[in-house]
């Protein structure tokens, strides 16, 4: 009964490659997110989707492209990977009831770019 799942758990790849990370939630939530956690442990919002529509796109290189085929899925595609993209990427979801929405996080995908 996994709530928010991500695949793969680990991703090791060469600079310049293109890769995708998949995320699925079975909580029935309307909103999904991608966060990046760097080596200093800061968790930064990258994208937010509500009912398959992009509502927030923080300052993220356009090499990163989210895709939401339905409200239970939010995938992240990264083109031309760079060394600085190495980090842990977390998918999350929330059910917006007002302003105080707790975030439900997936287990994370550790991306290492060599």
């Amino acid at each position: 009964d996994t709530a928010v799942s991500q695949t793969p758990k680990y991703l090791v790849t060469q600079m310049g490659n293109d890769k995708s990370i998949k995320c699925e939630q079975n909580l029935g939530h309307d909103t999904m997110y991608w966060y990046k956690q760097d080596s200093k442990k800061f968790l930064k919002i990258m994208f937010s989707y509500n009912n398959k529509e992009l509502i927030i796109n923080e300052t993220v290189p356009n090499r990163f492209s989210p895709k939401s085929p339905d409200k239970a899925h939010l995938n992240l595609h990264i083109n031309s990977l760079e060394l600085g993209d190495s980090a842990v990427y977390f998918c999350a979801s929330s059910h917006p009831r007002g302003r105080y929405n707790e975030q439900f996080f997936g287990p994370g995908t550790r991306l290492t770019v060599l």
Binding site: V4, T31, Y33, K40, K41, F42, L43, K44, I45, S48, I56, F90, A92, S94, P96, G98, R99, Y100, N101, E102, Q103, F104, F105, G106, P107, G108
Partner: protein
């Protein structure tokens, strides 16, 4: 710019004691603060929410305070146990997406 600051140094305490973690915010008036627990290799897990008009919230052994004058939240774990060892993240928000601090590592020694 808005900042959420937590102690970067790990907090080491003995089992049974009360752990107190601090979250300070600057250039900001958040409508709420959230606290999450993150274990190594896992995603953060929501623990508690406190709104700007609340001074204190409790849940089992956990207590959170929100002082809008000091611009600070304190997170307490009473009767701490080694299983409480983890990184604790503070998150503040005015809209529905919170801004996270970098977390404080708590180590409870048996």
């Amino acid at each position: 710019s808005q900042k959420i600051e937590q102690n970067s140094e790990a907090l080491n305490i003995q089992e049974g004691k009360t752990a107190t973690l601090t979250c300070n915010y600057t250039n900001y008036s958040p409508a709420y603060l959230q606290w999450y627990r993150q274990d190594p290799g896992r995603g953060p897990v929501f623990l508690l929410l406190i709104r700007e008009n609340e001074k204190e919230k409790r849940k089992e052994r956990l207590k959170v305070t929100f002082d809008t004058t000091l611009k600070q939240s304190l997170f307490h774990i009473t009767a701490s146990q080694p299983a409480d060892s983890a990184t604790y993240l503070c998150a503040a928000g005015g809209s529905y997406i919170p801004t996270f601090g970098r977390g404080t590592s708590l180590i409870v020694h048996p």
